[in-house]
């Protein structure tokens, strides 16, 4: 990431570099795994909400899921902090799963 680990006054450059590396790793995991969960869960909710036959909803949601995933990946790297990327994606995943579970 473009230097999101700032504000360390007394920290050495190597410590900063390893913190930045951890930050990237955390975001990468959030993007790949958290993003996948969020995209899947939201797509499930879309499938459940879709008017018309069940097959239509599942097809439409599956078609959309890759755009959702791409958006989730981008957000994981755009979020202010890695922690908020995780929190946001898991919250979206939980909301989507809950909606999909409650609706049918």
């Amino acid at each position: 990431m473009p230097s999101s680990a700032k504000s360390g006054t007394a920290r050495s450059s190597t410590a900063r570099a390893s913190a930045a590396r951890l930050d990237v790793l955390s975001r990468l995991l959030a993007a790949v795994a958290g993003g996948y969960l969020a995209a899947t869960a939201v797509a499930m909710a879309v499938a459940a909400l879709w008017p018309g036959p069940r097959a239509e909803g599942v097809m439409a949601a599956t078609l959309l899921s890759f755009a959702l995933y791409a958006g989730a990946v981008m957000w994981a790297f755009a979020a202010r902090r890695a922690r908020s990327a995780w929190f946001g994606l898991l919250a979206v995943a939980a909301a989507g799963a809950l909606l999909a579970r409650l609706l049918p």
């Binding site: 473009p2 069940r54 097809m59 790297f77």
Partner: protein, 529 residues
């Protein structure tokens, strides 16, 4: 906030590009070759007799039926492909026995109706399949790896658009001979002009295996049980029909009258597929697929009772709703409907995609090298690695593909596993160029490899003339579009590499002179340092 977002997206664009670039380059290049897969098949199997489209459908159907009966009686599904256009040069049979036995497929010799063993070459199909299932690994593994890379491509495309400030101006901006600036301009022009194609081809590529990559969405609605999966398949892909086994044997109705009904509705020789469910069972169904190619992939389907031979329904050509969107994406990706001019446009767009990826990869290195040289530091290991991998793949892979064609004409007929050896030659050729890239001086790499690529492609028509006897002028005189087209394409590609080789050589000697001048000025005026 805006600039922070854009900086993040630039970072993401750069790194998805570098991580997936080489693999995506392979996918784009082999997939682009796939737009001429059956033509490459024919060039690489010059001894093969090609079926005349739309001819002798009833005879082929009978011969195919006999083969299927012999190979897989009591199957769950038989499928017969009948040639109607360039997409299927040979009749083909596919069978799926009842679970758990594994199915299979075979081509039929249009002259004799007997099954063909393709011991000569896998032709264009090898390149085409490589673009989605790779090579030297199980298909399922390759599909997942390519899927992950395609997802990376999608992210790189969207972030690439976000990073752009002036997408319209970049249409018309190219500043050659200015180092990284020129590479950036080239990358932008290529990306912007074909952006709709890249978005379409990447997104639709993911959709081919959408239910493999995203299985949980369907499972949430249908349940993760065999019955649920079957209900899902039936509702989504079979228009709600299932084809249950009655369990009582009954002879399959004759196909001839069904084909006659199809000919009355669609015209002669327009049946592209005969889809037979539960043959030999009282519940059998026969479905005839119209060989009409549209971006929606499919024409009408006539559904017959497989025992009485009665026409039950005719399914409309265009599906509705989300299924139509799905089919449209796949249809646009495959381009089976494309006539020659459109096919050439597909080909050019695919090459532009490969070039976009290549320029992006080069841009990554030129920027970093310039920074390193300005800072007076020695370039780090990652930079040197990427620089060399770039040449070895961007030019090495096309050379590998040329090796595949050379091997096709040079490997002995008696070699055991000949088709597999053709593929080995592709990877040996590519590996050889990677080795070359690892060992030679950096400044000369691009020019040397481009020269090799130029020779490898320019000499192919000569090799073809010597080994098959069907030289370019004979092919042109006979109106043999496939052979003439292949030779001309090789000459064109070879000429492009030759032009590139000259350009690279000039650029390298220019850089050399510049470096010497700088070194010289340092020697004469040490005080200025």
């Amino acid at each position: 906030m805006r600039s922070h977002f854009r900086a993040c997206m630039a970072w993401l664009h750069t790194w998805t590009g570098v991580v997936f670039g080489w693999l995506l380059y392979l996918v784009f290049l082999t997939g682009t070759a796939g737009y001429f897969d059956t033509e490459i098949d024919q060039w690489m199997n010059p001894g093969l007799t090609i079926a005349r489209p739309g001819q002798a459908q009833a005879e082929y159907a009978e011969l195919a039926l006999a083969q299927l009966q012999q190979r897989s009686p009591e199957a769950e599904r038989w499928f017969i492909v009948l040639p109607v256009d360039r997409n299927d040069p040979l009749p083909r049979i596919i069978w799926r026995p009842q679970a758990p036995a594994a199915g299979g497929s075979a081509f039929l010799d249009p002259a004799t109706g007997q099954p063909l063993t393709l011991s000569h070459s896998y032709g264009g199909q090898l390149l085409y399949r490589m673009h989605y299932e790779l090579h030297y690994m199980p298909s399922a593994v390759g599909v997942w790896i390519v899927g992950v890379a395609a997802m990376g491509m999608l992210v790189a495309l969207i972030t690439g658009v976000v990073v752009h400030k002036k997408i319209f101006t970049d249409f018309f901006t190219f500043r050659p001979g200015k180092g990284p600036r020129s590479w950036l301009d080239a990358h932008n022009v290529l990306s912007v002009t074909c952006l709709p194609f890249f978005l379409m081809i990447t997104y639709s590529g993911l959709i081919f295996f959408a239910f493999t990559y995203m299985p949980l969405i369907a499972a949430a609605s249908y349940g993760d049980t065999p019955a649920g999966r079957q209900a899902f398949r039936a509702e989504v892909f079979e228009g709600g029909d299932t084809y249950p086994r009655a369990g009582r044997p009954a002879p399959l109705a004759a196909l001839g009258p069904m084909l006659a009904q199809a000919a009355a509705r669609w015209g002669d020789g327009m049946v592209n597929g005969i889809d037979i469910r539960q043959p030999g069972d009282a519940g059998a169904r026969v479905m005839l697929w119209q060989g009409e190619r549209t971006p929606l992939r499919r024409g009408e389907i006539m559904v017959f009772d497989g025992v009485s031979g009665e026409l039950l329904e005719t399914r409309p050509a265009a599906p509705a709703g989300a299924k139509a969107a799905h089919d449209l994406l796949l249809g646009l990706h495959e381009g089976l409907f494309a006539s020659l001019p459109l096919r050439l446009l597909y080909f050019a767009s695919g090459l532009a995609g490969a070039a976009m990826i290549a320029t992006g990869l080069v841009l990554w290195t030129t920027k970093r090298r310039q920074r390193a040289e300005r800072g007076g530091e020695s370039p780090h290991f990652g930079l040197r690695l990427v620089e060399r991998l770039n040449v070895g793949t961007v030019i090495g892979l096309p050379i590998g593909i040329a090796c595949y064609f050379w091997a096709n004409r040079l490997l002995p007929e008696t070699l055991a596993g000949r088709p597999a050896w053709e593929a080995h030659m592709l990877f040996l050729g590519w590996g050889g160029m990677l080795l070359h890239a690892a060992l030679r001086p950096r400044q000369r790499l691009w020019a040397e490899q481009a020269a090799v690529a130029a020779l490898a492609y320019l000499l192919l028509p000569a090799l073809n003339a010597m080994t098959s006897g069907r030289h370019l002028f004979a092919s042109l005189a006979q109106g043999d579009a496939v052979f003439a087209g292949f030779d001309l394409a090789m000459l064109f590609i070879g000429a492009a590499w030759a032009a590139a080789a000259f350009k690279f050589r000039r650029a390298a000697s220019g850089a050399q002179a510049g470096a010497e001048r700088r070194a010289g000025s340092r020697r004469t005026a040490p005080a200025s340092n």
